[in-house]
Amino acid sequence: MESIKITIDKKIIEVPKGTTVLHAARQLGIEIPTLCYFNLGDMNIENKPGGCRVCVVEVEGRRNLAPACVTECTEGMLVNTHSIRVLNSRRTVLELILSDHPYDCLVCAKSGNCELQSLAQKLGIREIHYEGEKSTYRKDTSPAIIRDIDKCIMCRRCEMMCNDFQTVGVLSAINRGFQAVVAPAFEMNLDHSTCTYCGQCVSVCPTGALTEVDHTRKVVNALADPTKTVIVQTAPAVRAALGEEFGLEPGTLVTGKMAAALRQLGFDFVFDTDFAADLTIMEEGTELLDRLTRHLNGDTSVKLPILTSCCPGWVKFFEHNWPDMLDIPSTAKSPQQMFGAIAKNYFADKIKVDRKDMVVVSIMPCLAKKYECTRPEFAVDGNPDVDYALSTRELAHLIKQANIDFLSLPDEDFDNPLGESTGASVIFGTTGGVIEAATRTAYEVFTGKKLEKISFEELRGLENIRHATIDFNGLPINIGIAHGLGYARKLLEDIKAGKSEFHAIEIMACPGGCIGGGGQPYNHGNSDVIKARQTALYKEDIEKPIRKSHENPFVQKLYEEYLGKPMGEISHHLLHTHYFDRTNEVIIDE
């Protein structure tokens, strides 16, 4: 590849053609500040509209300043990243952005994690010379996401995630000039749109313009209520990321400390969503084998491929876009909802507590889970199976508020019976994990043979679309994997066109799966963080004594005692669901 020699701040570097000034500078250890720029390169996510103009640099021979993030290096280019002209312009641009931004940092949900705040700090802004009118908009609250777009700085990251990566197409720039802002079309409410609540807009928002609906107060109140039995479940991806909120390296597993903290917070039972993940495999795996067997026996009414249904963002996306294919996804509920159903039926009976006096809290890496638990089909007489879904970030806040010194906590175990889990369920948190877990069980059930190698490396990785063929005793099973709804869309269009060769497809809405979920600690555009979380989950899987869902003794016991068999009558009632055509749910507000 052609290489180009350029000089930045008197340092010379040779870079491949096409490299931007920003990246060339980074290679030289020169940190040009950015604001709208965002990059998760390993997952094909990049936002560089060149709009904020914070990264401007001086290029010799050029009339005006150049934005480093979109300016490609050319041979012999002479760049100065901190001339007085650059420093003054950058300051002024930032002052302008701040002049149209609320000054409520003290009470802003993003405080401490706000990239605008840190930039103002880095540039030492102490005074804003250009005060004036601030643009104000209506605040919009949905079941999962709050839009407070007074704080929008038009970086367009959310728009890129919503349109390019997720192809959901809810958020885009509206209005012109000073009133320009990112919002749903006609400024309608998110809950009247096709928003999937995947929360990726929140993940990438540099300011407090997009945040999650905070349920921590409600949980604190429930914990303080002596008449309530409060149960908590924690999703697999949380344990690989929570530590980051307490200064630990990304990828540090804090399963034990998390259990200890939850117990200290006052939860009556500290359970694990992983248990329900094993249950999901029992149901979904059985459904896969059922469809597969019928297909092999020539039943043409059977729908293949089967699609996973654990991811609520994906489910809503599907309901909006393919209402004519609602019989393709597995009918198995997500682990969160399976847990809720088991907790408020089986476990409530067992400990003799009325479901109305039981509060089920889930800790999720996800914002769509907040929406999922409010879906009416997951409630009995208005009492939801899962009461509150907190994000990983909210749990960290809760722990901090309770004066718990997280780092010095001893490792503790989950409670039983709903806290026991296998390695298969742990990897639910990463792209490829659900289908690997299902494959482990389906293989052994289908072939009647023990797996020699439990890890399926061919299903792992971070490429957005992956596929592998697994040999089921001479029968080749084609498996597809996608993370990112835009990639899911591609696989779905193939299915619709009758071109899909897959028997089963796993889909996760978020980059990397749940480890990159909308409720996880902010990665600020560092894909190493997501990779480290993935590595951590595979590590926990290997260290688990049991690594196949059907071998989870408490799951086996649950079937014996209560459920009967997978896809049996009680299972069907408690652990399976159905989907809705949502094409008519989009409302344009007057």
């Binding site: 509209p49 709009g51 302008l96 250009y130 004036g132 700085i153 720039a173 012109r176 000073f178």
Partner: protein, 619 residues
Amino acid sequence: MDDLKKLRNTLLEKMKFRENNQNAQVQVQVKVAMATCGIASGAKEVMDFMAEEFDKRNIEAVVTQTGCMGYCYAEPTIEVKLPNNEPVIFGWVDLKKADRIIEKYIRNNELVEGIIPLNFASIDDNLNDETTERKKQIRIALRNCGVINPENIDDYIGRDGYQALGRCLTELSPDVVIDQVKKSGLRGRGGGGFPTGLKWEITRKSVAKPKYVVCNADEGDPGAFMDRSILEGDPHSVIEAMAIAGYAIGAEFGVVYIRAEYPLAIERLKIAIGQARVLGLLGRNIFGTDFCFDIELRYGAGAFVCGEETALIHSMEGNRGEPTVKPPFPSVSGYLGLPTNVNNVETFANIPPIITKGAEWFASIGSEKSKGTKVFALAGQINNVGLIEVPMGTTLRDVIYEIGGGIRDSREFKAVQTGGPSGGCLTKKHLDTPIDYDNLIASGSMMGSGGMIVMDEADCMVAIAKFYLEFTVEESCGKCSPCRIGNKRLFEILEKITKGNGTLEDLEHLRTLGNVIKDTSLCGLGQTSPNPVLSTLDNFFEEYYEHVVDKKCRAGVCKSLMKYIIQEDNCVGCMACARNCPVNAITGEKKLPHLINQHICIKCGACMEKCKFNAIYTN
């Protein structure tokens, strides 16, 4: 090609016949300027009236419509040609006047008032001729405007139309065509002044296919109507040039991106495209060659920023009209990511004469680095508001005083604003500046697309700057921070100053902020939007200073700075002012001098009007 030449010759004969026929009655030719502006002033009624009356009064005459003649100040305008006479142009023609023209001029060859002297040289005139020089204007881009019937392709062909396309397709290779355009020195007339031939060459060299030719007809400057006039008066010139561009760069598909607010231009373009298709001048195998080309229209919703070529392309694609960073330039990656050549209407209108009359001919007109002519929409406090076309290098003084007829009501010239809302205001010291791309930029303004607004002593330069900023604040797309927020802040500071609350620090801020916006904005809009502020700060600093320090607006435009004051010596205490004040701001005893409470006064001026003793004055 031969067919076209034959057609052209017959048509020419026909036109000459129309014009030179010995039969005295048939020879009366009336052309009515029917561009949007003419129609708005009543040209349609005049045309219908004349046709009807000729009929009634048994005068054999031909009444045709034509495009803008350029005399906006005198609309509706008509041209009458009597046998063996030079054509005469009449202005301010209403029905009464039309009646007089028929009775007096047409019937009896008696002159009627309101004759407008022809003030331009035509494309066929000898350029070295003294009279040509005296006329100051040469019409190249406007060569057919006000001459032909824009809805009749025969008229266009009769005036050498489609000869250039024919020549290109049958005699010249694409490279030679590009070479001719390069040699002519033609630069983009949309404002940037990028060499047109070079743009074509880059697009030609781009590998990806298919390629597109786009005509930028998203004229958005307030007060500018050059492109509209060309499209309304001579649509075929643009169509022909687009086909030539298509041939040169290797494109088969052209798009005219035109604002939906130009319904007449759209209609005439559609008619012209239809006619060209019928004659095989658009479509498959044009002139029997392999070359195929067709044109489609896309309508813009009227966003100013969509005149910026990348924003225009995004809008064409159905996306939000927002610019993107260049490179990549549209010549490499434009419409649908494919090589796209975007030229402005006026640029295209210059192409056919360059091919027919030669690059050398074109390059002989104009200044050293800016060749040819430029069309301006001359407006403001000037006697002859109109559409003009002058050779590059003409001085502002010639344009304002010779062509424009000087300042209205013999007032004092103060400034001229060129380049549209993001141009700059030039002053007396620039009057002898030759108008071309580089000189205008050097003096702190720019060519822009050709708006030219003249201001006099009654204009407040701070208010003018504020007016333009208000426009750019409205029209910014909002993508980049300096343009989105910076222009708003500039506007707010200007508003503060015109309200009388400005400080010297604000003047400092205007300058620093203006320079940062220019230096850091993403596209041409933001990079030029502070020009009205910066240029007025440079050239009229004393007016800013007066607003801020003396709290005075010398032009009397900024109402907040104006004070109505009662001069005690003259006031007799008649109470007329107090009685007529709508807000009861005036107090005082009968027969004693009165006083205006400045906090209550709304500056309506009613008191001054009522005072019979000249006791009330403004500062």
